[in-house]
């Protein structure tokens, strides 16, 4: 393809718009890393691949994967630039089928760790949290109704390919989510800067349960300590993370078993939602894996 004004080019470029993505059920993956992760999922996910010859020469295995789909079309740099959301799509992009999963399917697989984004607005934040959730081994990421579109090109870029690894639930109703997650055996924790339960304390309690209370000196007489005020971090958990400016709403907070604050040791007034999510998800992952 050589004509950046062709209809097909315009159709791809329109995927930068939420309405076009929703109508067509497609989204854009740009650059070698994202396209490679998409191609690993095969034609179920990848509808079309556009690449320059230079790119395919530079990444021969990517070229093989792309050719195997039967959906590869060569394109020049002008065409790729016209299709892409980024200034420089690095010679390759894929039109992918949206791959969100119904909540019921996620819960049927007995998940141990869910990240729930409640009205998170910034595409970079949402994508970064999805990438961190992938790294922490989360079983799914849920975006509630009113959240940013995870298929936004900037969000997709921020996931660095993790959108093709972690099941994503979109448009969730937070009340329904809380009810069904609880019915599936998950505890619900709200990450809340004003929370009354400290994440460090939960980690200590989890370690104490693992080691036996006496070994931490919590019960001098050898009997297990009866003080266990916090929820069990090592148990299956859905974490709720809130909007960047407002945090979680009162209604959202009311759905949780506990409001958990990430400790702030310095003078920072609050944490970026991505930072808070990272600390919470890694704390859960560590407690779960050390207790498994």
């Amino acid at each position: 393809m050589a004509n950046p004004r062709a209809d097909r080019v315009r159709d791809v470029a329109k995927l930068a718009q939420r309405s076009a993505r929703a109508r067509r059920g497609l989204f854009l993956a740009e650059g070698p890393q994202a396209v490679r992760e998409a191609l690993k999922l095969g034609p179920r996910v990848v509808a079309e691949v556009y690449a320059s010859e230079a790119c395919l020469e530079r990444y021969p295995e990517l070229g093989s994967l792309a050719r195997a789909t039967g959906a590869l079309r060569l394109a020049n740099d002008d065409v790729l630039a016209a299709m892409a959301d980024t200034v420089n799509p690095q010679g390759i992009l894929a039109v992918c089928r949206q791959l969100d999963t119904p909540l019921g399917d996620v819960l049927a697989r007995s998940p141990r760790l869910l990240a729930v984004l409640c009205r998170v607005q910034d595409p970079g934040n949402a994508g970064t949290i999805l990438r961190a959730a992938d790294a922490a081994g989360a079983d799914a990421v849920v975006l509630t109704d009113g959240s940013v579109d995870i298929y936004n090109p900037k969000a997709v870029r921020s996931t660095a390919g993790s959108i093709f690894h972690v099941p994503v639930v979109v448009g969730a109703d937070v009340d329904e989510l809380a009810r069904e997650a609880r019915a599936a055996g998950l505890g619900i924790l709200a990450a809340d800067g004003y929370g009354t339960v400290d994440l460090d304390t939960l980690q200590d309690e989890s370690a104490a349960r693992r080691l036996g209370a006496t070994q931490l000196g919590m019960a001098q007489d050898g009997a297990p300590s009866s003080a266990s005020p916090g929820p069990a971090l090592e148990g299956p958990t859905a974490w709720l993370f809130g909007n960047e400016a407002q945090g979680l709403s009162d209604d959202e907070l009311a759905l949780a078993d506990a409001r958990v604050a990430v400790p702030v040791y310095g003078e920072a007034e609050s944490l970026n939602v991505g930072t808070a999510a990272t600390v919470c998800l890694y704390a859960s992952a560590r407690s779960q894996r050390r207790s498994g």
Copy 2:
């Protein structure tokens, strides 16, 4: 002030450029939160404050703080928009004096936790890490030569005021930094996805030292275990974090006592540098505070 084309307005707006910031030793803090944190440091930091009447009415304590500096000038929204880097500076901005600290001053205060950004390029990443470092109680953030300018307006915004809390060292030579930090008693850890030491293992070892090896069942005969392969996470530590695309260079890695990998439990290929920094700094903070 009512004329958005006045020389003074243009001078402020030019602080969006690195060269103007460097020449004048100034930078911009935009919005009520950042300006409030700046004002708490007083005229040593705040050179000028521009605010709309509406903003001062909305935040009366901010108005009092601003008036107390003697550097407050009323400005209309057109002037503020012309001065600001953001589309919407929320009615207030401050011209601040750059407040970086010499490395020697930081090291003279016996720091326990430093975050060193080695050629980190994205202003949002740098600012977010500074904010996370503040939250984790780090004693300073060091940016090596070749890093993004921390006084970039987007970086300053991403710190959410933390740039006024945490001492910042800029333009550091990484070899000199490593030598002087080591001489000041700090261990040097490199955050490296290919690292051979696992952060979880370091956390476990640190906990084991705290509790006594026998309590973790590491030494059946009651003698302390002699196996202590990793560096002590509870000791004073300077963490090196690398460039977004390339990570740490071989030369930078060679300066560290150990290359530490944040565990990836899922399929993510790598971690965003901000995510990795958050996990590392919080792991150190937790180990240090639990052992203190």
